[in-house]
Amino acid sequence: MSFNIDKIAHLSRIAVTAEEQLQLEPKLMTIVAMIDQLQSVDTTNIEPMVNPLTDYLCLRADQGTETNNREKYQAIAPLVASGLYIVPKVID
């Protein structure tokens, strides 16, 4: 399996410098070689297991249970103004 670091770094939204890329590549290739072992396993008619407890998953009533804690939650935000999270300009 090939690994396009530029594409994956972009999808991951992680900036990777050229120097980091050189260090990352051999490590990622070793990991990929290790997980490639799975390709040789016969899994015909085996259902994927997404969670150990699919039978038990518990649903709750569709009712709001949280109160408004905006001030408390925004106290830990990097940048807020007038109750809004501030990010760089998105629309020109």
């Binding site: 396993v41 899994t43 297991m49 997404v50 150990p52 038990y56 709750r60 990097p78």
Partner: protein, 483 residues
Amino acid sequence: MHTKTLRELSHALHHKHISSVELTSHYLQRIARFEPELNSFITLNPDAALLAAKAADQAIHAQTHGPLTGIPIVQKDIFCTDGIKTTCGSKMLANFIAPYDATVVEKCHQAGLVMLGKSNMDEFAMGSSNETSFYGSVKNPWDLSRVPGGSSGGSAAIIAARLSPLATATDTGGSIRQPAAFCGISGLKPSYGRVSRFGMIAFASSMDQAGLMANSAEDIALTLQAIAGFDPRDSTSVNQPVPDYLATLNQDLTGKTIGLPKEFFAGLDSDIATLIMDGAKELEKLGARLIEVSLPHVHLSVPVYYVIAPAECSANLARYDGVRFGHRCSDPKDLLDLYQRSRAEGFGAEVKRRIMVGTHVLSAGCYEDYFVKAQRVRRLIANDFHSAFQSVDALLGPTAPGTAFKLGEKAFDPVSMYLSDIYTIATNLAGLPGISIPAGFHKGLPVGLQLTTRNFDEATLLNIAHRYQHVTAWHKAMPEYVA
């Protein structure tokens, strides 16, 4: 005081032979003495701890206390604590103060436990040596040049050095059991769904599980009673009654069958295998029957785990975008730059690697071949356990392939590091409970014995571990350095 069992401490507190303030001060003094070398805490909380101890003493005086009231505990820094910093071992959350308590923390408060502080850990619980922590490596109290294991390395070192009688920990692929083995303590990973994950910072949601570390199975049983149970705030927590773990702790092992998976012993270091087999023979003397079993797909656990865990981690860690909380880069030129640089600066190398592997296996063209394939092999591994439990009550094997390795020894070879969890990962994939208990020493370093039982059968796990500790003294051994 730090050599007493939880039951002895509880008796001493509730009969007013000591106060919680005295007990808490004793541990705080030990922390002040040993912590500078061990680096096992990220946040210390002495003033709040003494206040909580005072409140515990008042509850004891008013006779409104429970069995754990007044006993100190350390929370792994992955559990959100209202008003106290929660970093998860990352620069990303260096200034994060959670606006609520995790359910585990809340239950500990309700039980009257006194929080001493928050323990060091691998960044976002991704690591097997505690070397990925942004806050520096933790040292193993048995040998300061060695790792304590990970990711709950801080909690394990704290228990081994008797800086607290109790610590919480979490286990996604062995993060409770492997450090417990490396530090010569007892560590329980409960069944997936047994203890709430609400407020426990997510890594791989289909495997993450909260658990406990202490110096004995009995101490763990007492505390599990307080933190186990259904939580409506965690949809993966299971609504099943919590049994009385103490009631079955001393049960006779006659009639119990313990399986030794042959795959766990093939290729195992012969000295470690001898110690593990000595442990099995002790259980045989106590009445258990030993039989060999097979888990034919267990050798695939590491590759399955390193597809599923990174995939889930890449989705879970997408929330760290520099907008609502966590690290934000300076002067972002646009929104993409804000995301990319905040994440590049906030995450360490191992976390980035896992996010990128996870993003890759979930990307178009890889999803079926890697992610879904790994989920199919995961079922084969889980089925092996279900088959084995048709004929046995518990499985027994080593916790780790070796003892604590040197700091830096595996830091540059991720796959070699991943293989140190080779015996623990399968349990997480299947969602089963597991415990590591001390089983002797190899060249002066602790060796852990791992037991696994059926889903939600922590009672049998604790019963077997407790009976073993009743006839052995490995769990009482303490590093000379901290005696």
